[in-house]
Amino acid sequence: MRIVRPTIIYALLVLIALAMVVPLVWMVFTSLHPPHAQIPTMSNLFRPDGWHFENYREVLTYGELPIWRFAVNSFVVTAGVVLFQLVLCSLAAFGFSRLQFRGRDALFFVFLLTMMIPAQVLIVPLFTLVQKLGWLDTYWGLIIPYPYLSTAFGTFLLRQFFITLPRSLDDAARLDGCGDLRLFWHVILPSAKPALATVAAFAFIWTWTDFYWPLLATSSTTMRTLEVGLSVFKDSYGGMRWPLQMAAAIIVLVPVLVFFLAMQRFFVRGVILSGLKG
């Protein structure tokens, strides 16, 4: 299917790509301007008063906003959510795809229903719940209530993948005397690595870049995640000191970017796995 000539297509593709790339280029060059410089203009963006790589060091060692600590928090929280999510979803998906029990399909439907509940309806009561549990401003509060939205999504995605695995695998394992747990652990999970990676990739991105929940669930500076820390960072400069702001933004952006480039195919797979193509 070819609508127009390749040259025109390339021209359009490059034009859209520019819209994505120009801001990134601007960020990088702005971050190297003198820390107290005015916001760069088109004429001096590429010719700053010297290249100030030490902006990055300044941001990384800025006492009031410990960006390393934010990064550790983001990492702990994201890793916790991903692990928690994988355990919950894979167990449930195994039950829904490999075992027979009464009310199975009805329960699965209830799981799907939770995907319809918008996060904002849950936020206020979740906050109250977490407060009652004494989890505000702790890792527990940041990790445990998190996957409420993606548990159903993850279970659904894994179930869709598990049912494509041939039944003969189960039969062979059963003949060898495998119980449910060993079938799950030694047969199903190893065959489902790409699907598990997909669930992990989505959980990672959602958690790492989420803003609303960590904004509410944390109050002390040392518990902030990178995403919330960056917004505090911006406010503390009152819209000034753009070079430092941009250095901070780049420090926050780079890890996700690297992660995404490494895990790209799993994102595409997720879209196809969930049968969204209709």
């Binding site: 299917m1 088109m42 919950l88 196809i272 209709g278």
Partner: protein, 296 residues
């Protein structure tokens, strides 16, 4: 029979953790929000008297909440159709078998995974008067270049819509792409034999077959648009003159600045109802369209 029963509890054991989890962190909060919405509930006060539907009547009569609903609907009305059409067009472009097209697919996905806080910071620059990307370009083209977009009522909302096009592009494009690639090549060959031009092939072969995909994209985009928050929090704080005060941001202020969580819960339910109604309407309208598409 005994075996079946044994199977039963084994199955329950596997789904139990996730089920308990959802019960505690999805269904319980959902019900609890309903309970709170029926009480005068201040986060820092001990007693919360039952007030029936008073919270709902109050907020529905409140001009500021109605303004927030209006702003949200405006945002949805622009960002959804524009977002769906642009991503379908881009998907059609990257569906071409051309060298290096994969690089573009990756590039276009990046805003969707990037930090929204960082993206908002860049957009603040893009929209600045004089030195921002848009104004500097206008100046270079001989214009004034002095518009402070984020301070002008109409422009601030337009900027949020424009941002949503970039941020949502990647995921929508990938979904459309999967749909386009699943159309059997033979259909195009048959259409070509019938003398169809490329545009006609797209219009009469690809588009009708994409109807279920489009429905999915429209509904998910709508749900996401109703939940606009981070960009508003970072860039406009609901201003100028409350023109970007969308419902979720309004709820945020009600709950976490005024601590009126009962009121905020009622607002959440209103938002939930709005999302549900709009999604259902879209589903019905597009299904009818789909039926016609299939018979035509």
């Amino acid at each position: 029979m005994a075996a079946l029963r044994a199977n039963n509890w084994r199955g329950y054991l596997f789904v139990a953790p996730a089920t308990l989890y959802l019960a505690l962190f999805a269904f319980f909060p959902m019900v609890f929000a309903g309970y709170m919405s029926l009480h005068r509930w201040h986060l820092l006060k001990e007693d919360h008297p039952f007030v029936g539907l008073a919270n709902f009547t109050t907020i529905l009569a409140d001009p500021f909440f109605r303004n927030a609903i209006y702003n949200t609907l405006i945002y949805v009305a622009f960002s959804v159709p524009l977002g769906v059409v642009t991503s379908l067009a881009v998907a059609a472009l990257v569906a071409q078998r051309l060298r290096g097209v994969g690089v573009f697919r990756t590039l276009y996905y990046i805003p969707a995974i990037g930090s929204k806080v960082a993206i908002s910071m860049v957009w603040i620059w893009i929209l600045l008067p004089e030195v921002g990307l848009i104004n500097a370009s206008l100046k270079w083209l001989g214009g004034e270049g002095t518009t402070n977009f984020l301070a002008e009522p109409g422009w601030a909302m337009a900027a949020l819509v424009a941002m949503s096009l970039g941020i949502g592009l990647g995921p929508r494009m990938i979904i459309f792409l999967a749909g386009i690639q699943s159309v059997p090549q033979t259909y195009y060959e048959a259409a070509a034999l019938d003398g169809c031009t490329a545009w006609k092939r797209f219009r009469h072969v690809t588009l009708p077959l994409l109807a279920p995909t489009t429905l999915f994209v429209v509904i998910t985009t709508t749900i996401a648009s109703f939940q606009l928050f981070t960009e508003v929090y970072m860039m406009t704080r609901g201003g100028p003159r409350r023109t970007t005060d969308v419902v979720l941001y309004h709820i945020y202020k009600e709950a976490w600045q005024k601590f009126e969580v009962g009121m905020a819960s009622a607002m959440s339910y209103v938002l939930f109802a709005m999302i549900l109604i709009v999604a259902l309407l879209q589903f019905r309208i597009m299904r009818r369209g789909l039926g016609e598409g299939a018979t035509a």
